[in-house]
Amino acid sequence: MKPRVFTQWAQPAAAVPAANLPEPVGGNAHRASGPVSGQRPLLARQGLSDRALAWLFVGPTVALLLAFNIFPTLWTVYLSFTNYRANHPNSEVVWQGLSNYKRVLNDEAVWEHLSVTAHFLCTSIALQLVLGFGLALLLNRKFRSHSFWSTAILLPMMLAPAVVGTFWKYFFEPQYGIFNAIFRFFGASGDFTMLGSTQLSPWAIVIVDTWMWTPYVMLLLLAGLRSIPPYLYEAAEIDRASEWTKFWRITLPMVMPFILLALLFRSIENFKMFDLVDNLTNGGPGSVTELASIALKREAFEKWRTGYASAFAIILFVAIYGMSMVTVNFLNKVKQR
C-alpha cells in the first residue's frame, strides 16, 4: 500500500485502505440476509441515543483538556500581564499591561538567545534533511537486509533526550571521551574540547541533535519515496530521461510534501528544544548554547520572574505558531499542484 500524506488541511477523510482488514467472521452472512427492508430503525433498539453516547464518549477527554491544557494556557496569558512572582505567592499582584512584553522584546539577551536558537534550528535541520534524504534514497534501493538496517538506524530517535544529552557529555570529554579518540585515531590532534569552547559547543549540540533525529527525517522521506507511483519512472524511461532529470522532475517534486512535513515537525521540536541541551551543555559555556527554552526555564524557575517568563513564553509560542503556519501554507500549495 502506498503511504500518503493525510493532513486535515487538505483532505480530511481520504479513501480508507481496507485491504489489510480481516474478513469479519460471519460478516457476509449478515449481508446475505438481503436488503433490510421492513426493519425497524436501528435507533429504536439502542439503550442510549447516539447523540448522548457521543457526548459521553467525548466528555471526559474534553474536560481534561480544558482543565489541564486550555486553562493553563489562558492563565499564562493572564500572568504575562502581571508582575506575579511564583516564589512570593502572597505579595500583591499588579496588572502591568504590556510592560512585560516590552521588556522581553527590548532585552538584548533575549535576542541573543533567539539567534542561538535560530543557528541551532537552521544548521541541525539542514544537516538532518541532507543526511536523511541521502539515506532514504539509498535505503529505497532495497538492498538485501535493508529493513533490518532501517530499524537499526531508527533506534536513536526513540531514546530519552535527557539521557542522550548526559551521555554525549561523556563522549565529548576531551581526554577519555570516544569522540576525540576517534579523531585521534584518524590522525587529528584530538585536543579540542567540544563542550568547553565557545566556537565548538554550538556545533556540539547540532551534532547530537543530528545524530538523534536524522533517522526521523529518513523515515518520513522514505515513506515519500515509496509513495511515488512507478509508472512515472517507466514513462521517463521510455522518454530516455537521464537520472538527473528523473530526480529533479519526478523524485524531488513528489517527495516535496514529505520534506515540508519533516521541516514542520523538526522545526517545532527544535525551537522548543530543552531536555537534550539542558543536560549536554546547560546553556554554556557562557551562554553560547543557551537556547530560548533554557533561558525561559531560568527566568521562570531560577529567577522566579513568573510574569516576565509568561510573556516570553507567549512570544515564543507566537513565533513557533507563525513559523508553522508559513510551512503549512507552503505545504498546502505544494500538495495542490
Binding site: 469479519p24 439502542q46 539521557v163 531536555d275 526555564k297 513568573t306 509560542f317
Partner: protein, 315 residues
C-alpha cells in the same frame, strides 16, 4: 555469463551494493554511542575514564552495584576489623575500600517511571479510545480542527506549560505526587492518542457494527464486542507511543517533582560517585532505562511513522 533480465526500474546490483555499504556504515557509526554506553556499564570507574579510552576492558559489575547502593568510605584499620563480606556485591563494594550504607534511590525512581508511565498510558488509552470512536462514527463539533489543535499544543514549549501547571498543582497539592504527573502526561498524550486512534477506527468499516446492531446489539455492545477487537493493533500501537512519551519525558518531571514522585530521566544525570560523576553507574542506569524502549521500537517498527508524525502519514 548470462545476462539477467532486469527491469529498468530495479537498481543494478552494483548500485544496491553501494547503497548497502553506505547505509550499513552509517548505521554502525550511529550505533557506536549506544554500544559504548552498554560497554561502559560493565566497567570499573577507573577503566571508564582511562586515557586513551579502552576498547576492551575487564568486565565488572561495579556499575550496577553502585547504581543500586549507597556506600561510605572507611579507613584501613576499620576495614580490617570488619567481618568478611556476606554477598558478592558486598565484596565488590569492599574492593573499593568502602562499605555498604544502604540501597540507592534508583529503584524508587525506576518504579516511579513505571507507575507514572503505565498509569498515564492506561488513562489516555481508555479516554482516547472512547473519544476516537465518537469522532470516527458520530458528528461531533470541532472534529476537523483536532489535528490542528494537537499541533498547536505541541507548539507550546514545555516550560511555558509548566509555569501555570506548577502554580495549579501547588494550589491543588499535586506538586511532587504520582497523581499529578499521571494527569499531566495523560493530557499531553490524550490529543495525540485520540487522533491516532481515530485513524485506526476510520479503517474499520462501519458495516461491521451495523450488522451487529441489526442482530440486536446496542451501540455500546457493538463497540465493545465488534469495534474494540478490530482496533486491537491500533490500540496497542498507540499505547506504546504514549508509554514511550511518558517514559522519556524530562522537563515536567524535573520541574514538578523532587523527592517522592521523581522519575528516572531527571535522576540519572545526577548519579554521583566519589570525585565526580560515576560513569559506570550512570551507564548501568541508562542501559536499564533504555532497554524497554529499544524493545518497543523493534516491536513498533511497522507503525513508527504514523505515530511520530501524529498520524499525518499513514501507511
Amino acid at each position: 555469463m548470462k545476462a539477467i533480465p532486469h527491469s529498468p526500474l530495479e537498481p543494478t546490483s552494483l548500485a544496491k551494493w553501494f547503497a548497502g555499504i553506505i547505509v550499513i556504515g552509517y548505521a554502525v557509526i550511529s550505533l557506536v554511542p549506544l554500544a559504548w554506553i552498554f560497554m561502559t556499564s560493565f566497567r570499573t570507574p577507573e577503566d571508564a575514564i582511562a586515557y586513551p579510552p579502552k576498547i576492551v576492558a575487564k568486565p565488572s559489575l561495579i556499575g550496577y552495584v553502585n547504581l543500586f547502593t549507597t556506600r561510605s568510605r572507611v579507613g584501613a584499620d576499620e576495614m580490617a576489623a570488619l567481618p568478611p563480606p556476606k554477598t558478592w556485591y558486598e565484596s565488590l563494594v569492599r574492593e573499593q575500600q568502602m562499605i555498604l550504607a544502604g540501597p540507592s534511590r534508583f529503584s524508587d525512581r525506576y518504579t516511579n517511571s513505571l507507575l507514572i508511565g503505565f498509569g498515564s498510558t492506561f488513562l489516555s488509552i481508555v479516554l482516547g479510545t472512547l473519544a476516537a470512536y465518537a469522532f470516527s462514527r458520530f458528528r461531533v463539533p470541532g472534529k476537523d480542527d483536532w489535528l490542528f489543535f494537537i499541533l498547536s499544543t505541541r507548539m507550546m514549549p514545555p516550560i511555558a506549560i509548566a509555569i501555570p501547571v506548577y502554580l495549579m498543582f501547588r494550589q491543588l497539592g499535586l506538586n511532587d505526587t504520582h497523581v499529578g504527573l499521571i494527569l499531566l502526561y495523560t493530557v499531553v498524550n490524550l490529543s495525540l492518542a485520540v487522533w491516532l486512534l481515530q485513524g485506526f477506527m476510520d479503517e474499520i468499516p462501519k458495516e461491521y457494527e451495523e450488522a451487529a446492531m441489526v442482530d440486536g446489539y446496542t451501540r455500546w455492545q457493538a463497540f465493545l464486542k465488534v469495534v474494540l477487537p478490530q482496533a486491537a493493533t491500533g490500540i496497542a500501537t498507540t499505547s506504546i507511543f504514549c508509554l514511550i512519551f511518558a517514559w522519556n519525558e524530562y522537563a515536567f518531571a524535573l520541574l514538578l517533582t523532587s523527592g517522592t514522585a521523581q522519575t528516572a530521566p531527571p535522576f540519572i544525570p545526577t548519579i554521583i560517585g566519589e570525585g565526580g560523576l560515576d560513569w559506570p553507574a550512570m551507564a548501568a542506569g541508562t542501559t536499564l532505562f533504555l532497554l524497554p524502549v529499544l524493545v518497543f521500537t523493534v516491536l513498533l517498527r511497522k507503525h513508527l511513522l504514523r505515530g511520530v508524525t501524529f498520524g499525518a502519514i499513514r501507511k
